[in-house]
Amino acid sequence: MPPKTLYDKIWNAHVAHEAVDGTCLLYIDRHLVHEVTSPQAFEGLRIAGRSIRSPDKTIAVPDHNVPTTEGREDPQNMTEDSAIQVAALDKNAREFGIHYYPVTDIRQGIVHIVGPEQGWTLPGMTVVCGDSHTATHGAFGSLAHGIGTSEVEHVLATQTLIQKKSKNMKVEITGKLAPGVTAKDITLSVIQRTGTAGGTGHVIEYCGEAIRDLSMEGRMTVCNMAIEGGARAGLIAPDQKTFAYIKGRPHAPKGAQWEAALAWWKTLYSDEDAIWDKVITMSADDIAPVVTWGTSPEDVLPITDVVPSPHDFEGGKVGAVERSLEYMGLSPGTKLSDIKIDTIFIGSCTNGRIEDLRAAADILRGKKIQSGLRAIVVPGSGLVREQAEHEGLAEIFRQAGFEWRLAGCSMCLAMNPDQLRPGERCAATSNRNFEGRQGRGGRTHLMSPAMAAAAAITGRLTDVREMI
């Protein structure tokens, strides 16, 4: 048999039909649904008189709009349009009989945190969601990617997607990360290298010692941002860490089924001599704690660097950098560590898991944030929040001067009341620094949770290595 990549293997196991031109019907094992990209899809089903083919493979949770402050189950505490969307999800979930975690359920949270936490995401699966950060689930060796609302409707009705196969891209990170350097720094550094379109048309498999050494949380952080590099999905081959993480989760297989599943999962890796369309190799030694300075996730530099000049770039990027520096209120040559911030946001599907909260709390323990700063921590799920309280992390955050919130997307995209005001500058652990992403005129610097915690203490972008 010809050698195969992990992507080839998962793909082959899910083709329900292939037309002569290579267009496939790809079978979907898990379909995650949230309130923003699904109402029109359910409405489409109703209008056409169609039902959901596999309600048992469909999981819904409200996350994008919901406030993360107490009393949020009362629709009065939401804007009218947000309340309508959340109510629509509630109605659709109940009417179509799919799995559902309403805001009153402790298991509610960001859809990409809830899926793995509940054991819905398993190796070798196909996972989709009307959300680009579905790539997160690739950390388990599942083929996971975002889809549009028309495709949400297509999956609801047929449990398949019309797809053509993407290309294979390997991103290998060799060696070991230095202290203070995290999964977030890996994923941002890869995007700096490839650009936001570098992965377009490809599925990335991340491998190498630095990736193997990451926890499941760290691997999710890496895959989460595959989409920011333009890739259709990010993958990491499952290993003992993966299996240990899954075992015992509510929807993980049990008993004989566990054994059968495990036997298959162990075959899920790229063959030694597999052929790649594109290969990128980076050494962990070359990865430092990084921050973004512009309005594209490729605008990444080590914290020890300075704001670049538009003339450092070529082609269409020159104009884009001019525009983004103006938007960001930055001038070339400014030391990144001299940039003062107003707000700190720790959370999101990139960095809202327990390990992220631990990393930030480690830096904050016994310290206070600069006065005058607004700082919020938004755990990725109700269960993450509960565990953090149990471990005493919530107390560390509160004592340091952070607000301790309920679970949701919150200031990652500012669809709920948590928004930056024009000109406000934020150290954020989320994944997008686009213009207006965190509120109209708001300025976002992306970084790891430890770096965000360090910035909270000094009030400016800070090299976390000075604090460890």
């Binding site: 196991a13 329900a16 039909h17 037309a19 031109d21 019907l25 079978y27 094992d29 923003v36 990209t37 029109q40 409405e43 169609r50 083919r53 994008h64 709009n65 349009d81 309508i84 969307q85 398993l122 699966m125 009307g130 959300d131 680009s132 990617h145 975002g146 889809i147 549009g148 609302t149 028309s150 495709e151 409707e153 297509h154 009705a157 047929t158 449990q159 019309i162 936001t196 379109a197 377009t200 048309g201 333009g230 297989p253 089924q257 566990w258 059968a260 599943a261 269409g316 990027k317 104009g319 884009a320 995209l413 500012a414 669809m415 024009p422 997008r432 686009f434 213009e435 109209r440 005129g441």
Partner: protein, 201 residues
């Protein structure tokens, strides 16, 4: 879905690279449960000042481009989120074709589901078409999906590649779900078999 056969219209130049979905339609407009009405807020933050007044510098606010149906854009157009609100807003505004050196995957897919034709050309040809778009309202571009060609106002003609299945669906305005349901027997068979092979799914 609306069919796409030929289109002759005004093309607007947007040379900025990495125009993301947040720029195309900011999140505050995602709180709708409908597909229609989003055109008014297309490119909202670039198009309007905070006061709500139009920014006269923005290309689509210039008289000659108000009725444009084609956008010629910088590379990596549509990067960012999966929101189909982006093509809905473009369509609602009247855009039926977008020309760029590259598109983000999900956005590219979403266009086809909504009767919008995204066309990829080399940087060189995009630059050429950008120049043509800069001529304003008197310069009309023609796109013919059947013959897979774009003709500039000067009569220069460029051929484009497009996936055969997608072309067929656009030309005929076909709904994907209807097409897939014709193959339901294959899905049934797959499901039966995979239930035996991977019963834990």
């Amino acid at each position: 879905m609306e069919r796409f056969t030929t289109l002759t219209g005004i093309a607007a130049p947007m040379p900025l690279v990495n125009i993301d979905t947040d720029m195309i339609i900011p999140k505050q407009f995602l709180k709708t449960i409908k597909r229609s009405g989003l055109g008014a807020n297309l490119f909202d933050e670039m198009r309007y000042f905070e006061s709500g007044h139009e920014n006269p510098e923005f290309v689509l606010n210039q008289e000659k481009y108000r009725d444009c149906q084609i956008l010629v854009t910088g590379e990596n157009f549509g990067c960012g989120s999966s929101r189909e609100h982006a093509p809905w807003a473009l369509m609602d505004f009247g855009i039926r074709c977008i020309i760029s050196a590259s598109f983000a995957d999900i956005f590219y897919n979403n266009c086809f589901k909504n009767g919008i034709l995204p066309l990829t050309f080399s940087q060189e040809i995009v630059a050429n078409l950008m120049q043509d778009a800069e001529k304003g309202a008197n310069a009309r571009m023609t796109i013919d999906l059947e013959t897979q060609s774009v003709t500039t106002s000067d009569g220069e003609r460029f051929l484009f590649d497009i996936d055969r299945f997608r072309k067929y669906c656009l030309l005929n305005g076909l709904d994907d779900i209807g097409l897939t349901l014709e193959k339901i027997a294959f899905i049934d068979t797959f499901e039966r078999q995979s239930r035996m092979e991977r019963p834990w799914v």
